[in-house]
Symmetry: C2
DNA sequence: CTGAAAGCGCTTACAG
DNA sequence: CTGAAAGCGCTTACAG
């Protein structure tokens, strides 16, 4: 395969000049530039980014480690991250942790060995020693969505507290009193924060959150199924199940359906994270929507600021409640008719 | 950051020996190996994959260019591709073309410059010159799902012909006679093949497929919306709309709903590509399911065979019809109750 | 079993 | 504006 030397030979110039021409260095004569371009074209030359990276010590690549690609929330996040990164001249390599701590570590290690310029992470496991000392290393790092307390790294995330309070108000207004939650893993911030916000909101209404109404999930559909089955088997079934992510809501829907029950008549359902399909499920699902595109953009910008030596900015954006019909009654404000895709 | 030289110094050995120890070369004494490992640990040494790649001329990375990450079909494909690749010792870099030919080319170019060992592609645009001559280049390449006729590259894909025939039989059995299709871009194989298979199946039942019943979509939700609106505005509205992918089915659902019509009473709906949410939509959507995991695995294996000098294998796997309620009547065989996630 | 040395394909001071 | 040369961090014949 043609290298820069071949181009230089074909153009009758040194490799130094070819390199300059290719990198738009100002001091290259128009004539030289033209000959280089012609030679590149003729030989079908494609610069070797590996060699360039070794020499310049930058890969113009950022790593994105997410907990689960199959979760539409993260898929969307990844899509916007790539878009913003591309705009700023970076590629992104995605590492999918699949909610498995070992797999997360595998990807972090691999990305670090590949010398990515920066790392965007939504930690699947906040206790991973590797992750913690990667944060202490010299590879710039930013947390998105989930983060690790006590680790000094910028965080870009959504705050769902108010939206959860709105949700509880909505549920209370519909007469629901026995509210249950399917939580995410305790080792993740979003895993316990959502429970805490829920508990706090319930307290404002003088409602209890008994242990039996806190199901331990792992953000995957299966756990939503399992926890919901347990809820349904309780002597006093909850009026509402709030799933801390959309996949567990899917599982909950499966479980309710398997029992032959109906939403919301027999049991109500709400989810954290909105997805286009929630408009068309039976019934449409009330959900808390995060400003995913904005989060992705802010996260990339913070990371690139860090990479390029500017002060990065932590960002917290509010999530918002989108009322549909899965908790009862038709919403008075008609919900938008499109699925945002 | 510690390099191999530092490790060598700390271990009191040459870099050559350190390198051998790290690469599990047989001729390294147990003592040397132990000292190397200790030094690596002490210094927190992380091998530089960029340097290694430059030297060995392999990156142990494959590129995956897909048409749209937000399409659950491709998300799932990507997930399984990564899994299989990891098993075989490769990383994968995903390039999301977003159904935009220019973006597809951008990613192909970037991946080639990064010297990935092989390329897995589902072409968003079969006419891209870059793509065609990349196929002729020396980077091993395999097509998944979509391919480019006339280009000599192994293809791993699903054949939906029989499933589409089954679908038409199902529709005909329910008394539907005016069948319409939302097609994908003509520049993609899946874009026109699905239309052809549909047309052929209709012919077997003596049914026409008038031009007015062929809507031109682009595999994105918006186009499904637009085309469906056109169908609904026809003097003679179709009985059924068959969307050539799941995103266009989403758009179709939006459009039907916006018009205040009901599925399947007013108009029936079916989709190519099954997704977990189709179990819970209102109504559950009849769809054609591809064996995604198997396709992903076969594609990676074919590519790695090519990379490692073994003869690759093109593979075609059958898709299958999953009957639910969106075309009318309750299916006699109860559909599975879980959403496969 | 170990080490000295060449070289992968670039970029970039340095000199002219 | 251009070129000769060093060097990025590894791996791998080659010699011992």
């Amino acid at each position: 395969m043609a290298g820069i030397k071949d181009v230089a030979a074909a153009a009758g110039l040194s490799v130094a000049t070819v390199s300059r021409a290719l990198n738009n260095h100002p001091s290259v004569s128009p004539d030289a530039r033209a000959r280089v371009l012609a030679a590149v074209e003729a030989l079908g030359y494609r610069p070797n980014a590996v060699a360039r990276s070794l020499r310049t010590d930058q890969t113009r690549t950022i790593g994105l480690v997410i907990s689960d690609v199959l979760n539409p929330y993260f898929t969307e996040l990844a899509r916007f991250v790539e878009e913003e990164a591309r705009t700023l001249g970076y590629s992104v390599i995605i590492g999918n942790a699949n909610e498995e701590p070992d797999l997360q570590d595998h990807h972090v290690r691999t990305l670090l060995e590949r010398r990515i310029d920066g790392l965007l992470v939504s930690p699947a496991d906040g206790r991973s020693p590797l992750m913690v000392d990667a944060a202490g290393g010299r590879t710039p790092m930013v947390f998105v969505d989930r983060w690790i307390p006590g680790v000094d790294v910028p965080v870009v995330r959504a705050d769902g507290r108010q939206a959860i309070r709105d949700l509880v108000a909505h549920l209370h207004g519909l007469g629901h009193r026995r509210l249950a939650i399917i939580a995410g893993p305790a080792a993740t911030t979003t895993g316990h924060e959502r429970v805490e916000a829920f508990r706090e909101a319930l307290r404002e209404y003088g409602l209890p959150l008994p242990d039996a109404y806190i199901g331990q999930g792992d953000f995957q559909a299966d756990s939503g199924r399992r926890v919901t089955e347990e809820f349904l088997a309780l002597p006093e079934m909850p009026d509402v199940v709030f799933a801390a992510d959309n996949l567990m809501a899917l599982g909950a829907l499966d479980a309710v359906r398997a029992r032959g029950l109906r939403v919301p008549q027999d049991i109500a359902l709400a989810a954290f994270d909105d997805i286009p399909w929630f408009v068309h499920t039976d019934p449409p699902v009330t959900a808390i929507a995060q400003p995913v595109a904005d989060l992705a953009r802010a996260a990339v910008r913070a990371l690139v600021d860090l990479i390029e030596g500017r002060p990065p900015q932590s960002v917290t954006l509010p999530a918002r409640l989108v009322v549909r019909r899965s908790c009862g009654e038709t919403p008075s404000t008609p919900s938008p008719n499109r699925s945002n895709l």
